[in-house]
Amino acid sequence: MSHPAFRTAAGGRIDRTRPVRFTFDGKSYTGFAGDTLASALLASGVHLMGRSFKYHRPRGPIAAGSEEPNALVGVTGPNGRETPNLRATQVEIYDGLVAVSQNRWPSLAFDANAVNDLFWPLLPSGFYYKTFMGPSVLGATRAWKSIYEPVIRRAAGLGRAPAAPDPDHYASRFVHSDVLVIGAGPAGIAAAMAASAAGAQVILCDEQAELGGSLLADTLSRIDGRPAAQWLDGALASLAGRPNVTLLPRTQAFGYFADNFVALQQRVTDHLASPHTDMPRERLWQVRAREVVIAAGAIERPLVFPDNDRPGIMLADAARTHVARYGVRPGTRAVVFTACDTAYEAALALREAGVDVRLVADLRSDPAGAAADAVRRAGIRVAGATTVTGTRGRLRVSAVRLGSLTAGGEVVPGEEIACDLLLMSGGWTPSVHLHSQSRGKVVWSEDAQAFLPGAHAQRERSAGACRGVFGLAAALADGAAAGRVAAMKAGFTPNGAPSPAVEELAHSWHGVLGACPHHRDPARVKAFVDFQNDVTAKDLELATREGFRSIEHVKRFTTTGMATDQGKTSNVNALAIVSKATAAPVPAVGLTTFRMPYTPVTFGVLAGHNRGELFDPVRTTPIHSWAVEKGAVFEDVGLWKRARYFPRAGEDMHAAVSRECRTARACVGLLDASTLGKIEVVGPDAAELLERMYVNPWRKLQPGRCRYGLLLNEAGYVIDDGVAARVAPDRFHVTTTTGGAPRVLAMMEDYLQTEFPELKVWLTSTTEQWAVIAVQGPRARDVLAPLVEGIDLRCEAFPHMAMREGRICGVPTRLFRVSFTGELGYEVNVPADFGRAVWEAIWSRVLEAGGCAYGTEAMHVLRAEKGYIIVGQETDGTVTPDDLGLGWAIGKAKADFVGKRSLVRPDMLAAGRKQLVGLVTADPATVLEEGAQITRDADPAKGSPALGHVTSSYWSDASGRSIALALVAGGRARIGETLHVPMPGKAVAVTVASPVFLDPKGERLDG
């Protein structure tokens, strides 16, 4: 239950009528709807929420938003999904929420690794890198791998990565908007109001559960005569009522890319106790915006003083947020330590909520202004020229030790004040992350003592605190102006609505940078700069003593700013410390690069729908379902599923493939070749285009005849092959390899548009128009004959490498007489919707004839027995037509074709090029490994080059032995020679042979 000492009686934006039960480290707590995990725990008196990364020091939340470095928790969702490293300040509680602390063992209150804190002099900055330099006797690498890394990885770290698959799904949405406004604080809301009033389509996103930013916790200011919160309600209601506005709470703009492309991560259901299973957990918005307004606000800076990291020490504005927004007193007795006026407002808010604010200690000598006056009037003691030199307390701060600053800058130890809450404020750092991600310049402002947005690279502008325009009235006006400009640049005419009247405490937003002065031994105190990575002021000073000057190097050496919070609270303090230590001005030290994501993003939201069955399209042919029914084993060929073989009961792959090969050679086999790429080349210059693209001559090819085409790249190397038929004088049906179809079409289209625009010819992909059924084997003609109409199948009327149009089973067909097996063969092309029916009709005939269906594996064996190449298997991008023994395909009389000039380069004509040959093993049972190297000697001397490699290797049923194809240097001259294939254990002796193992004269082609 909320502790009455820590939960205010009224106020805040929580719903006190809706208690919410949750557990943290197994213990039950109750908060209210609207609480974050951090606010609910604080309301129960719990500040200790985590252990630090390196020293395992007890830590509590210092912030109230996404910049929180300490309070990282693991959350188990309603469906069992575990998410580590969530910021407790952003986790919205729901009934049944299960959260655990991280990086502690055995418990949060007692952590064995806290011993690191005692040995901290042994863990200096650069410690991680220094472990690389291990004892040389072991070998540094071994020491690293076997000793240091496992130990460090275990001891240091964040939460555990979940072991189970992510049970959630993630949505994705592309959207275009006229104006994207990032951040829904006063500036962002004003920008969205102004831009939408002009008629622009506006998206307003904010990382928080509620839109409003600082207005959600502002109990002091009034807008248009009303409390700020009331004005906010009205403004949001107005925006929500505009059809041209999309409001996206819980939505982090995490990446800013080229052309005003911004990625947003929306948390859709993480805050719900029992979300509908059809709702996505998160949604990725990919926004293309004409104009962007960045209203990302500013982040309060911690003060860097000794022991500034105990639970109970938090940023002043975070405490104010907890009081005003969540009705939580973060403590009962508070001390405020500040160098900025805004902390006085926090002091007032806490005092208002009943917290005993004992002192405001101000680093500045003479705190003045409206806020300080109001604090003094409220009876709170204000001490100027005062610093904090240390704190007490183990699991929570119990006392603050003060020191007085003398005029000479010395620190005189002062009183100690007991407290359970210490607020700190070093001033404000504008959030320039997204501006920087957009490639906009970031420039140091002496005046603001901050980095501010400079020159723009894209159509974006910053408004409000993120560009150093602080204060409510100023932010509202700046936001409205930015919204108007954005709308105007997006093509709309903005109106000049007056800015609202604002009553607020006037104050300065300046603070200090770097470490606070103290009188203690700097080597013995820990004043944290980067809380999440446990980097202290001393570590940064050490880095500069070790010679690091650039902040990029200091960052990597000390790891400051490299944690998951990317140094949101620490970067500028670190810069200032390095600046002071090196006596270089801040801009000379430089600024590290802001990279996406602004806050950690789940892999799930990046993957979106692209997982499981939707990871990639699974392309199947019209005959696929038949193969599934027949129990085919499939293989992936690109995105295609192809039947690899059709095992019968009791058959393994070897037996099935042997049977399929045997049947095709003895009788007839049926193969689904639908995946073959197909391009319809049409136009009076169709033959001319092919003439220029392929090595072969095409002009004289008669309609109804086919030719095997070979395609080279400009370098003269084979990149694709396939049979093309001339359908009519102005029409070719070109086939490509399965994997090469899109590439070949794109290449031909490219040449057509850029090199040969004068040609009257057009390309259309017809790969999927046709189902292709290969019927191969001596009985192929008998099988097809009764099904075919209008085509004379007799050999003399329909020779090998011819194509006829007619009908099969009553539907139109382009019937090719081609063979990839060396047998009498046909490829039946029918429109794809008819594919399965025609296949089944042919299949019945095949069954009657005693044939079978075969898969791609048998296809490979059958073609290898004939020495037919497969592009990508016998070729590797360095192989010419002549290397493959395909020099005959080149049209010798042709003036030109793609790659022709390269074929006469000296290297292409040199003796000793690798050539395609067959290999026969001494032991016929030995099947070589594809890819195995080939050498002259059985036991080659180290360093002696291989002569080539095995490209294809199979058991050949037809040969009664193993066969292999290989690329071997000077291979054709070596036929008959014995070479060796060294394998583990022993080398395999092979004899170089012709690549054609079967029917070298091609007598089987006519059946």
Partner: protein
């Protein structure tokens, strides 16, 4: 072989969705389709023979009853005819075109056709299509070749809340599956 003449469109499994409040995905079968390439003169002749003029305005679809002509490029159109005999249509057009240089290719079986309709249709498409699909940017009658996830599609807005999708047949199951997945959240009743 009368049974063979029945076209068997690509199978897309259980992915068709029908939720009257959000989106509905229906397959459109038995469509004759033709890829046309050529110059404006050829296009004009083909349009007269086909029965609907081929648009010359970019991204414009013209239709007349069951016939539609979609502009895909300066010299490229996709013609659609609900039902119809592709061989007969091809023969008629070929007769009209004569020897004029152009390309007419029957791609009736290359594609699968879908109609996606309902108030959330554009949002569902925008889960995988990067184009702006608001009525101002993509009005009724606009068509284009675009991406939907990892598939190329031709998209034609046939009504304020209705889109015709043409996709190569082997990508049809993927496209329908992606639509079904994206549609899940839209069928959830508002809390």
């Amino acid at each position: 072989m009368a049974d063979v003449a029945l076209r068997r469109p690509p199978q897309i499994g259980l992915a068709l969705v029908a939720d009257e409040r959000s989106v509905r995905l229906e397959a459109i079968d038995r469509v004759s389709r033709f890829a046309v390439r050529g110059d404006a003169d050829a296009a004009a002749i083909i349009g007269r023979a086909f029965g609907v003029a081929l648009p010359t305005e970019p991204w414009r679809a013209a239709f007349d009853g069951p016939l539609a002509a979609l502009w895909l490029g300066p010299d490229e159109w996709l013609l659609l005819a609900e039902g119809g005999d592709p061989e007969a249509i091809s023969a008629e057009v070929a007769g009209a075109v004569g020897g004029r240089p152009c390309s007419w290719v029957d791609v009736s079986h290359r594609n699968a056709g879908f109609l996606l309709s309902g108030p959330d249709a554009a949002d569902v498409l925008n889960s995988g299509c990067p184009l702006p699909l608001g009525l101002a940017a993509f009005p009724v009658g606009r068509c284009t070749r675009t991406l939907f996830g990892k598939a190329e599609i031709v998209l034609w807005r046939t009504g304020e809340t209705a889109f015709r999708i043409e996709v190569w047949r082997s990508f049809a199951a993927y496209a329908a599956g992606l639509i079904a997945e994206a549609a899940r959240e839209h069928a959830v009743p508002a809390a």
